[in-house]
């Protein structure tokens, strides 16, 4: 995809929130919407950025991080949520905190029809598993929502997914 004309501010808001709440391990499967955030975390000497082969690895990684006394966050695209479902048993059964930041596909102006089945059901399957879902649709609310989600996860020992609406990434005309 071509870069956006103006740099986005909200990935920096997420990064600053990670810093403020003490996130040390950031696991990710890349998504275009997470590019800036991944780059910020990679270049932070106080964070370890862990590239995964599949998203459920990140659930297990962050369970281990928590056992060892560190906070983490898992970055993925909505398609990756489907890969995580059974692995969510670990933090859910063990009442471990888990903070996931999910960039949405398959909704606002989607150009790839293969993204629709997972994108249209991301919220439902997460909620069916007992994950607390908090959605951000406006750029200026993202930092606050991630911060509240982090508090919910780390202080209430539960699994939280912050969904970043596809609309945040802007409409791209792929029709021609």
């Amino acid at each position: 995809m071509k870069p956006e004309p103006n740099p986005r501010v909200w990935p920096g808001d997420i990064y600053q929130t990670f810093k403020a709440v003490g996130v040390k391990q950031v696991a990710y499967v890349p998504d275009a919407g997470h590019t800036q955030l991944i780059s910020n975390c990679q270049s932070d000497p106080e964070m370890v950025a862990v590239s995964l082969t599949t998203e459920e690895e990140g659930i297990a990684l962050l369970a281990g991080a928590w056992l060892g006394g560190q906070r983490g966050a898992l970055l993925m695209q909505s398609s990756g949520v489907g890969n995580c479902i059974n692995m969510l048993s670990v933090p859910l059964h063990c009442r471990m905190p888990l903070l996931m930041i999910v960039t949405m596909r398959g909704e606002w102006g989607e150009f790839n029809p293969w993204q629709l089945p997972m994108g249209q059901n991301t919220e439902k399957v997460l909620e069916a598993m007992g994950v607390y879902v908090q959605r951000a649709t406006h750029p200026d609310e993202i930092g606050q929502i991630v911060n509240a989600g982090a508090q919910l996860a780390f202080n209430s020992n539960c699994v939280v997914a912050v969904l970043l609406s596809q609309r945040l990434l802007g409409f791209k005309d792929w029709s021609k």
């Binding site: 040390k24 391990q25 370890v48 862990v50 590239s51 995964l52 082969t53 599949t54 459920e56 690895e57 990140g58 659930i59 297990a60 990684l61 962050l62 369970a63 281990g64 991080a65 928590w66 056992l67 060892g68 006394g69 560190q70 983490g72 059974n86 692995m87 048993s89 670990v90 059964h93 063990c94 009442r95 471990m96």
Partner: protein
């Protein structure tokens, strides 16, 4: 494919031998027989997964990154490892020096009716890990080889993998703590102290 040798070691004896050498190492065990084996020697520094098949190695990685001064040993079965086989690549790339992995390989899914796993049919986990940049890998078949490998699990620069070929003997389920939340709290309290574990 290498020449086919049979595992003769006894899994519970392997677990006892490894446990005797663990010192202050932190351990993660995987679903299911390896967690049962570990249950025979319940330990405050062991976290036993009884779900999330495929999670063991990656849970150990997260723990190793969080506790770089401590040795972390993951013990799991061949079926559990195969489900999370991508973890070899992720761990190889991350390259934690304090991380070791022991796969107790009986070449069967023993919880579900002794169906063959891929390791019975030519898949060599040590070679997979070597190809994924592990610092050292080996497969052991005998007590002598196991005795020689154990110091590597606890001292060699990681990430290191030892595949331990065992026979197909099955044992009764021996879980001490069924509640993962309790197990997590106990592990964290012992490692971090109550003030940090519960703050």
């Amino acid at each position: 494919m290498t020449e086919k040798k049979k595992g003769t070691l006894d899994r519970r004896q392997v677990m006892a031998t490894v446990q005797a050498a663990r010192g202050d190492a932190l351990m993660v065990t995987g679903l299911g027989s390896t967690t049962y084996d570990a249950g025979t020697a319940d330990h405050l520094n062991t976290f036993c997964l009884w779900g999330g098949m495929g999670a063991a190695a990656m849970t150990g990685l997260g723990l190793a990154l969080a506790q770089p001064e401590r040795r972390v040993l993951v013990m799991t079965g061949d079926g559990e490892m195969l489900m999370g086989i991508g973890a070899f690549a992720t761990i190889g790339v991350q390259h934690p020096k304090n991380f070791a992995l022991a796969v107790i390989d009986n070449e069967h899914y023993s919880e579900t009716g002794m169906q063959a796993t891929h390791t019975q049919r030519g898949v060599d986990l040590a070679q997979v890990a070597a190809a994924c940049s592990f610092a050292s890998t080996q497969t052991v078949y005998t007590e002598e080889e196991l005795d020689a490998a154990i110091p590597k699990l606890f001292a060699d620069e990681g990430p290191t993998l030892v595949v331990i070929k065992v026979n197909t003997q099955r044992y009764p389920m021996s879980i001490r703590l069924r509640d993962g939340a309790r197990l997590k709290d106990r592990f964290r309290e012992n490692l971090l102290g109550a003030a940090e574990a519960y703050y």
